[in-house]
């Protein structure tokens, strides 16, 4: 375990680490373009030059392994001079079009420019002109003039997503980034190259020109689109200048977590942000009056739901009521469901959702075949004792064929969550269908009531991913319209049912996991 000194601070790290990694651990930021912690070190941009005692010339911190007794200085006059030179060189042909560049505000070149660059250019020559709008693929657009040829994107496809989809062709000032001639850039992980591009060369055609990054607020959450549970950052506006009094989510970005998603996320999850503000989101509580679902406000819909549940229980007993919980709801919601419906109302027709779609896509990188974020959590909590669960297909059939008079469905079907065109497994029935979910679907036409629930990014919750990793998240932003967090809906329903449930029954504790952790 070598011990090294960087800018007077001492740190002991495992051998094999490079100087830049050791510095990162100390919180010392060494400027870099080509180095990224999730990729191999290329050592090509020369921005991370540092002074190391007993070595006469400056060294690149990203490719120099630490050794015991090493003394590194990252901010001497010589180092700053080297950075200035590199920046001057990178800026020879750079358009400096920050005012119209999407990366502006989160651009390394811009940041370092303010720190180290020569503000007055020494160049009299006109700069090179290159392709300004070069469409690489359906999601990515390239601005060749802004590219600093760091090769992060080339290495990303080669090392992370698995197929080398990009190359840097030609040489010197003529060099440019492109796909192989004739190929279109398509990949399930394309969006990541926009995140890791240190400049504004690669931009996302979806986010492009939509919002300045410094106008965005950030919240943290967990991606709800598959069983991996990638950690994400939610970028949104509470109020935009265009639509006053309305919030808008602009993008999801991966939040580094070495145990789950490292630095990456897939495009399905990334563009899943659109779901939050989608026109299909249910914005207010709906009650069927005559033939149409009509917005009625929470009080009325909760009272009506409680009344119907009471009536059904009185006439048929718990047998006549079914509860279907999709594995898109959080562990907290699951606990609240267990407390309210199973423990208090003694309902045993309880199911934890339809099985995983065997035709779903899965790969070695991140994407899981199971598109539900919390199947493992539901299994681990267990709504009913093990072995007593009702298969979702049976529950749906019992409902459609009239053996169940009231069906309460919580959460969104994970398959339809991703493929809205897929048919709904819940058919029409004679009885009362109550849906508590985020997004409109074909089953709504059979429903008596639709209760708008918050999306995962809009509520506090916990998901357990396919590996059994328990991941808690706080609400990143307020729910859309009148939607409420699922637990709060259940709490209101409990009050209306006059059932005494512990006000914080959904609080996760050690005992939550105890019964099934041995299985």
């Amino acid at each position: 375990m070598p011990t090294i000194e960087i800018d007077g601070k001492i740190i002991t790290v495992e051998s094999g680490l490079n100087v830049i990694q050791a510095a990162d651990r100390l919180g010392i930021h060494i400027p870099r373009f080509c180095y990224h912690p999730g990729l191999s070190a290329a050592g090509s941009c020369r921005m991370c030059m540092v002074e190391i005692e007993k070595i006469p010339k400056l060294q690149t911190a990203c490719t120099t392994p630490v050794h015991d007794g090493m003394v590194v200085r990252t901010d001497t006059e010589a180092v700053q001079d080297a950075r200035r030179s590199i920046l001057e060189y990178l800026l020879i042909n750079h358009p400096i079009d920050c005012p119209i560049c999407d990366k502006s505000g989160e651009c390394l070149l811009q940041d370092y420019y303010t720190d180290y660059a020569r503000y007055t250019s020494r160049f009299l020559e006109t700069r090179w002109r290159k392709r300004k709008v070069f469409i690489l693929g359906p999601t990515i657009v390239m601005d060749e003039e802004r590219c600093v040829l760091c090769s992060r994107c080339v290495r990303f496809f080669e090392e992370v997503s698995g197929v080398r989809r990009l190359g840097i062709f030609q040489r010197g000032a003529e060099a440019y980034l492109s796909t192989y001639p004739g190929e279109v850039l398509q990949d399930r992980y394309c969006g990541n190259i926009v995140d890791i591009c240190p400049v504004g060369a690669l931009t996302d055609r979806d986010f492009r020109f939509n919002q300045r990054v410094w106008m965005l607020k950030q919240g943290h959450s967990v991606c709800p689109y598959c069983a991996r549970g990638c950690n994400i950052i939610v970028d949104f506006n509470e109020k935009s200048d265009i639509q006053v009094n309305d919030r808008r989510v602009y993008r999801f970005r991966p939040r580094p977590n070495p145990m789950v998603n490292r630095y990456w996320m897939c495009d399905v999850g990334r563009y899943g942000y659109k779901h939050l503000d989608a026109a299909e989101r249910i914005r207010e509580p709906l009650l069927r009056e005559g033939k149409r679902l009509t917005p009625v406000g929470w009080d009325r819909v909760i009272k009506r739901a409680a009344l119907r549940i009471r009536e059904t229980l009185a006439s048929t007993g718990p047998k006549g009521v079914g509860v279907l919980v999709h594995p898109t709801v959080s562990c907290e919601t699951t606990l609240a469901v267990r407390e309210l419906f199973v423990e208090q109302l003694k309902i045993r027709n309880v199911s934890t959702g339809f099985p995983v779609d065997p035709a779903g896509f899965e790969d070695e990188v991140l994407i899981r075949r199971d598109s539900a974020p919390n199947r493992r959590g539901l299994e681990m909590i267990g709504l009913v004792p093990k072995g007593e669960e009702v298969p979702a297909e049976k529950l749906a059939a019992d409902w459609a064929e009239g053996r169940i008079q009231l069906l309460y469905v919580l959460g969104d079907d994970p398959v339809r969550f991703q493929h809205p065109e897929a048919p709904s497994p819940i058919r029409a029935g004679e009885g009362i269908l109550i849906l508590q979910k985020t997004t409109a679907g074909p089953e709504d036409e059979h429903a008596r009531m639709v209760l708008p629930a918050a999306m995962p990014a809009e509520e506090d919750g916990t998901f357990v991913n396919f590996e059994g990793r328990v991941q808690h998240f706080d609400a990143a932003l307020a729910p859309l319209g009148e939607a409420l967090p699922a637990c709060e809906i259940l709490q209101r329903l409990g009050e209306a049912l006059k059932v005494e449930i512990h006000p914080e029954c959904w609080r996760l504790g050690q005992e939550t996991w105890a019964p099934s952790s041995s299985s």
């Binding site: 080669e158 197929v163 080398r164 989809r165 990009l166 190359g167 840097i168 062709f169 030609q170 040489r171 796909t179 192989y180 001639p181 190929e183």
Partner: protein, 161 residues
């Protein structure tokens, strides 16, 4: 896919290196010797042999100016433009060749016999101005001498046909 080089030759070439991708440059050179240039098909052929993505092969082909990306004439004429040759009249030589062949720099004559290119130092400053035709070095050359050399080359091509 079309086999550009005999399998035996490829095998021998790969055997000289500890890992496959190290053979990229020699393989491309062998292809260029055979075909005169590196076509898109050749890039894919090399990529398949070395288990690389074609974009990696293309990076190397595009980086080195001596890997040629389009078909050349039977004779590639390189005129040195570096300092010694420039001082001793490479400009006159180049102009003479342009006029005689009726083509510009980087172009090939209609009969596909000659391609004209400029070059950085040919490592032959003592014989400036120097010209290289395929692998053969000439210098110091005068316009008259070049005319004689080109006629010879032309004859060789004609008799070969």
């Amino acid at each position: 896919m079309q086999q550009i080089l005999p399998k035996k030759e490829v095998k021998k070439l790969l055997g000289r290196y500890p890992n496959k991708d190290a053979a990229l440059m020699p393989l491309l050179r062998a292809i260029q010797m055979k075909e005169g240039y590196i076509s898109k098909e050749a890039e894919q052929y090399a990529a398949a042999i070395l288990e690389l993505h074609p974009s990696r092969v293309r990076e190397v082909v595009a980086f080195y100016s001596m890997f040629r990306e389009k078909p050349e004439g039977k004779h590639l004429i390189l005129v040195c433009e570096s300092i010694s040759c420039a001082l001793l009249g490479s400009e006159t030589i180049l102009e003479h060749l342009k006029k005689r062949l009726g083509i510009g720099i980087g172009e090939t004559t209609a009969d596909q016999h000659f391609t004209l290119e400029t070059a950085e130092c040919l490592a032959c400053c003592d014989q400036a101005p120097a010209v290289m035709i395929n692998d053969e070095l000439f210098g110091p050359v005068t316009p008259e001498e070049l005319d004689r050399i080109l006629e010879e080359k032309q004859k060789a091509v004609d008799s070969g046909q």
